[in-house]
């Protein structure tokens, strides 16, 4: 897995070992993992009662204050990683904190999704509005983004898309039906 070409020779006692350094990061202009903005969304009070989950048993034991503290810590770490963190209000949606599912970001294009669970469909409105108002045409940033809606009648959550440089997606029609509210 170590594919770097830089080598350094480590001397230990009388024997020399050659160590292959992990490869250097790729140049900035082709790096899909350099970002400047993070959009997060507040945890709604209704998370404990109404958020979708595979584990309704553990859901009831959620400490909302602790969840918010942990969420705030994550936001701080995103800031310290060099991102400008924006936070949108929850608008009453129990799953609103999981903002990743509302959009797929590839390069400068943000594709607003049609989330699989019916109870989450409304979440995209606030996200689309915020993105269009703040980033789609602005003198504040060097590049703007294109905010588009994913075409067609299908559903997809951002959490089902892994972007590696190429898109990997998970298909799960049975799951969508069983948790749709």
């Amino acid at each position: 897995m170590l594919t770097g070409t830089a080598r350094r020779v480590v001397y230990s006692g009388r024997r020399a070992f050659t160590v292959v350094s992990p490869h250097k990061p790729p140049p900035m202009n082709v790096n899909h993992f350099q970002k400047t903005i993070a959009i997060t969304r507040e945890i709604d009070d209704s998370l404990v009662q109404s958020a979708l989950t595979m584990n309704p048993g553990s859901q009831q034991s959620i400490d909302l204050e602790l969840a918010r503290k942990q969420h705030a810590k994550l936001s701080r770490e995103l800031k310290w990683a060099g991102l400008q963190v924006h936070t949108i209000g929850s608008a009453g949606f129990p799953d609103s904190v999981f903002i990743e599912d509302t959009a797929i970001v590839i390069g400068r294009t943000v594709m607003i999704t049609n989330p699989g669970a019916r109870s989450r469909r409304g979440e995209v409105m606030g996200v689309r509005k915020y993105l269009k108002e703040n980033f789609a045409a602005s003198e504040n940033f060097s590049e703007t983004i294109d905010v588009v809606d994913l075409p067609g009648d299908g559903t997809v959550d951002g959490g089902d898309i892994l972007f590696t440089g190429e898109v990997i997606t998970l298909t799960k029609p049975s799951l969508t039906c069983s948790i749709a509210a």
Partner: protein, 134 residues
């Protein structure tokens, strides 16, 4: 675009877990990134039996994929951005800690966060943000 079917993946993962005699259950998951994420520009992080099943599928579809595998599904979702890996803490997933320390490329800064509360409703780390470059 590579499409992976969750039902098939889960079936394969369960069959493999039974064959290899592991007693760890194959959990039901909400999303693809419940058991995988990127942990560098090039390396896909996978977790648990579903992660291994995903690796088997992707090795057929991708030329020379690179993976890091951790035993804990919950540890497999990390945010990788700006050469920083934001991941679950060693106190939450002690069995995965050594793998992160040893296998993630050395130019990457590790940040450990605790995310146990949102995890109770299957929330992970990438779930909580949209990352843009403007």
């Amino acid at each position: 675009m590579i499409a992976v079917d969750l039902a098939q993946l889960t079936a394969h993962a369960r069959k493999n877990a039974a064959l290899s005699g592991t007693h760890a259950p194959v959990e039901d998951v909400l999303h693809l990134k419940s058991f995988c994420s990127m942990c560098s520009e090039d390396i896909i992080l996978t977790g648990g039996e579903l992660g291994l099943a995903l690796q088997r599928v992707l090795r057929r579809e991708i030329d020379k994929p690179q993976f890091i595998h951790v035993p804990d599904v919950g540890a497999a979702n990390c945010v990788y951005v700006n050469q920083t890996l934001i991941r679950r803490s060693r106190t939450e997933f002690p069995n995965s800690e050594a793998i992160f320390r040893q296998q993630v490329p050395k130019y990457i800064r590790h940040v450990e966060v605790e995310a146990g509360e949102l995890a109770k409703v299957d929330g992970a780390l990438t779930c909580c943000s949209l990352l843009l470059k403007v």
